[in-house]
Amino acid sequence: MSVAGGTAPRRGFDFSRPVLAAVMALLVVLIVLPMGWLVVYAFSSPDGKPTLGNFVTLFTDPDFVDPVVTTLTIAVSVGVICCLIAAPLGWLVARTDMPLRRTVRTLVMASLVTPPFVGAIAWEMLAAPNSGLLNQLWRALTGAPSDEALLNIYSLEGVIFVIACYTFPYVFILVANALDRMPGELEDASSMLGAGTWDTARRITVPLALPTLLAGALVAFLQALNLFGSPAILAIPAGFNTLTTKIWSLFGYPPKLELAAAASLPLLVLTVFLLRAQAMVLGRRGYTVVGAKYGEPRLIKLGGLRIPALALALIVLAMPLFLPYAALFNTAFSPVASRLVSFDTLTLKNVQFTFVGLSSTWPALQNTFFLATTAATLGALLALIIAYIVARKAVPGHRALAFLATAPLAIPGIVLGVGLFLGYTRPPFTLYGTLWILLIAFITIELPSAYQQLGSAFHAVHPELEEAGRMLGASRLRTLADITAPLLRSAVIATWCFIFVAVIRELSAAVILFTSETKVLSVLIFDLKESGDVGAIAVLSLAMVAITTLVIVAANRIGGGRAAARLAARGAG
């Protein structure tokens, strides 16, 4: 067991030190360089002198204070709403005999396939005050006049609602998984001591689930805090900015890079702080699983409430899933998006325009596929190397490596975009305008979850197998290739697919870093949104979701069903 570490006797040259040095250097370039420039810019005036003026502007100018307040309002509301939805729903699927509970669980996870900005566009089609299909339905049913609306998606409430739609599944997965793992014995003991079903739920189950719920609330808060797409699509038409859309607008002409950097820092600091808080909360979760093996948690019999419970679950699912996809399909095949398509009006003109008429479609698809496959391959490889070094404590300095590999988790996509823009538009790495800068962004964003997945996979492979290889004279790299890698195959494939999917849907970093020749699918959809070409947007969004779904299904086949759940580790937007 003690062969690991720098003191191990070596036969021949061991490549692990150069590899470690190379990986370290790479991570520094990936993470430290852009973040360093971000900090430098945040404390610089436009003519390059050190100043605190950017922060004075940030915290006194109403143009910035308002977005900060709005962003916090949105993030807190989304955190609370997500818990209010996810907790009962998670409890229903994990601990009750609700019919179709497995299907409901799968569908909630499936709703995560939808990129949040696509969800926002779909909800615009549903709940724009006048043309929204739901408002039209409401007017048809109630006979309300043409200028009255039930729902207005162009509002603070609308933004909160849409973000919550695509964030609560993360909380749901955390809650449902925690309830799955909760020891049945505690509840058994409670009922043996005479407590009724509901009393047990109230006094045992809920308190045990609370830390998870709190962690979930933090995840939701972070998602809402750092999301760019949904507010860009809904808040700007409504006449307000969030911090992310404000940062993005600073890239307009003339660009105000110093302010953009300064406005990015609070997001970064808050995210780091909240991630630490989350780690603390989740760390305390240990007390819910004190023993080794527990009995299956017992299911609560809902009795007459089974059908109402299912109805409730389906209504919740309609928000991120059934309704938006109905709207996207309607728009894709309808001559005018605000009218319901029928067999008489069904048209393929949007499909034809998107794939034949629109000259950016194919280049964007090519760029997206190139980036997704390359980022997935290099990202998985990098994560594999880091996970190996850290898991086997292969060389001194592995802790720093683990830290660097996890650090990007705290960097919101748009902040990373700003940092990379600042870091790579100058020598020594003039990468702006190439696909490489996007590649770097995507690998950096996905590295933490890829590393975490492969790290846990390494723990499952017993080191003795590798030690045997080493004792028989193989170098460390050779052992890794011949013994460890094959054992990790399914985890690596799942990681690859996970990165692939995440890259396809990434918008917030790409929107800062793209140029006309390096446009990706998500940016193309966003561009089309700004000129209101909803037909093409619907077609491209459905195509995007179809590709993503195919890859996830494939990953589940190969990777043993864990890939979809792993998507929960990090969202995009």
């Binding site: 143009d63 308002d66 724009a128 005050p129 006048n130 043309s131 043409s146 200028d147 162009y154 808040a235 700007i236 038409p237 409504a238 006449g239 307000f240 900015n241 607008s249 890239f251 307009g252 002409y253 003339p254 660009p255 005018v336 998006a337 605000s338 325009f353 008429g357 629109l358 000259s359 950016s360 280049p363 538009t425 003039t430 702006y432 305008g433 140029t515 006309s516 020749e517 561009d527 089309l528 700004e530 000129s531 209101g532 070409d533 909803v534 093409a536």
Partner: protein, 346 residues
Amino acid sequence: MYRRTLIQAAALLPLGARVVSAAPPPEQITPELIEAAKKEGKVSYYTAMDLSVAEPMAKAFEAKYPGIKVRVERTGAERLFNRVAQEYGSKIHAVDVINSSDASHFLPWKRQGWLAPFVTVDMAENIPADMIDPDGLYCNQRTHLSAIAYNTKLVAPADAPKGFKDLLDPKWMGKLVKGHPAYSGTIMTATQQLSRDLGWEYFEKLGKQKVLQVQSATEPPKKIELGERAIAVDGSDYLFWMYRDKGAPIEVVYAVEGTPLIHNPMGIFKEAPSPNAARLLFAWIMSAEGQSFIVDLSGQFPAHKKVKAKAGRPELSSIKTLKEDPEAVEKQADEIKAKYARYFKV
């Protein structure tokens, strides 16, 4: 040897400078140019024109000159300006031909020496002289207006606004949609004209009307077609007409105060990656054939004297228009964006 080259180069300099500062001699479209363009095989066309016109136009060019692929890069003119600045700032020379709905953009591009002169014989004969830059660096491709329009299902013609001031009526609160001057060149140009003629108080009041703020001047027509809002404060007039022709319940209003006039100049970049294809595309768009294509499809006003405006549309001379002033737009652009953001909160 090296020294002599330097001296020769120095001797050539004044000549070169003279050629740049004078209008270039009009050029013919030679078979050699077509051949060289085909060898390049592709051309990038940055434009602010709606995709429903720009993409078919590009396809028509591709059909005329098989083997040359046009990549249409469409976004708002202000975004295009920013994109070109960012790309050129990083020495990325991706743009061949640019066509902006904000004529003021060509002033700094010209000053920076980024544009290549190009005038065809046909242009010299058939494009009004005041539409061509004296140095031949750019030329107005077409003209359109930023018009008011309304959805006739939501507003009865009798109640319809007659001009911009009517839009301040409280009864239109929450019923207006408009584009954004930090995105759209059409809206930037229109905002400069309206703020000059009606004063910024007008926009301050308009900002309190709960306007649905979209980005592109091409989107208000789409929102009116959908019925999402009753009245568009601004927007590309040709799209209102195109949707109306398709049967959408839209009426266009030419404001009593006058309608903002938008020229759409086009130029070729000196560092164009496909200089020959760029010239061929430019020449074709400015030819009677290219101009007719744009007019027949969209009904915008042509630059070419031999091409007639689309039948069934009001004549440009019959519409009271506001005066376009690119020099003023260039000077005021930052101020316009800042004031606009203050009054409309985004």
